[in-house]
């Protein structure tokens, strides 16, 4: 039987689905951070796009 340490060596964790969290699924909880991400994307794009643009 696997013990907790064995389980913890795995990279993808056991995640228990809690339906009470579904109320957050369609809600942006940190809108300021999402705005920052949008601004960064508009300015920089994604990294590989930038890499492709380099000569």
């Amino acid at each position: 039987m696997k013990n907790i340490l064995d389980l913890n060596e795995k990279k993808i964790p056991v995640v228990r689905v809690d339906k009470s969290l579904n109320k957050y699924s369609k809600v942006v909880l940190f809108p300021e951070k999402v705005k920052k991400a949008k601004d960064a994307f508009a300015k920089l794009g994604l990294p590989e796009e930038g890499e492709k643009r380099k000569p």
């Binding site: 039987m1 696997k2 340490l5 389980l7 913890n8 060596e9 795995k10 990279k11 993808i12 964790p13 056991v14 995640v15 228990r16 689905v17 809690d18 339906k19 969290l21 579904n22 957050y24 699924s25 942006v28 909880l29 940190f30 300021e32 951070k33 999402v34 920052k36 991400a37 949008k38 960064a40 994307f41 300015k43 920089l44 994604l46 990294p47 930038g50 890499e51």
Partner: protein
């Protein structure tokens, strides 16, 4: 990968995660959310404390609950879980404050040798992305999973 981390719960979409930080200041609910930013599969990673009374979220507080390493390990763990569900996602992360950005950087540096095998990691320096250099200061980070053959835990 032996990381001391908290047990995660998530919504059915695997975009919002919750765990309980335990320390000298008691039990503090933490929320991690991956929000879709645009149609290019870019998601924003954010996490903060949930006020036990009001339910309000705060991503600026420094909780100082004596478990910052365990919290970081749990956030890393949530990234693995999220990317297991969304393998093509790009994840953008930056702090709401300079100290928060430093916290992200510490997290990446601490687990760099593990995660670099599984993720492409880029750092924002001024107006460019560059491949992440361990120990260097960046304003923001973007990662994408590259190793699709990861071990995962089984429910016992």
């Amino acid at each position: 990968m032996k990381l001391d981390r908290y047990e995660l719960k998530s919504d059915q979409d695997f975009t919002t995660f919750e765990f309980l930080s335990e320390g000298p200041k008691g039990k503090i609910e933490k929320i991690i959310q991956f929000s879709l930013v645009n149609e290019r599969n870019l998601y924003n990673l954010a996490f903060g404390d949930k006020d036990a009374i009001t339910g309000e979220l705060n991503d600026r507080t420094i909780t100082d609950n004596g478990d910052s390493e365990k919290v970081l390990a749990t956030v890393v763990s949530a990234v693995y879980a999220f990317c297991h569900r969304f393998p093509d996602a790009w994840i953008y992360a930056t702090g709401s404050t300079a100290s928060r950005t430093r916290l992200y950087r510490m997290g990446i540096n601490k687990y760099y040798d593990i995660v670099v095998n599984d993720f492409k990691i880029f750092g924002q320096e001024l107006s460019e992305w560059e491949l992440y250099v361990k120990g260097k200061e960046y304003e923001a980070f973007v990662i994408q999973r590259k190793n699709l053959n990861l071990d995962y835990e089984k429910h016992s």
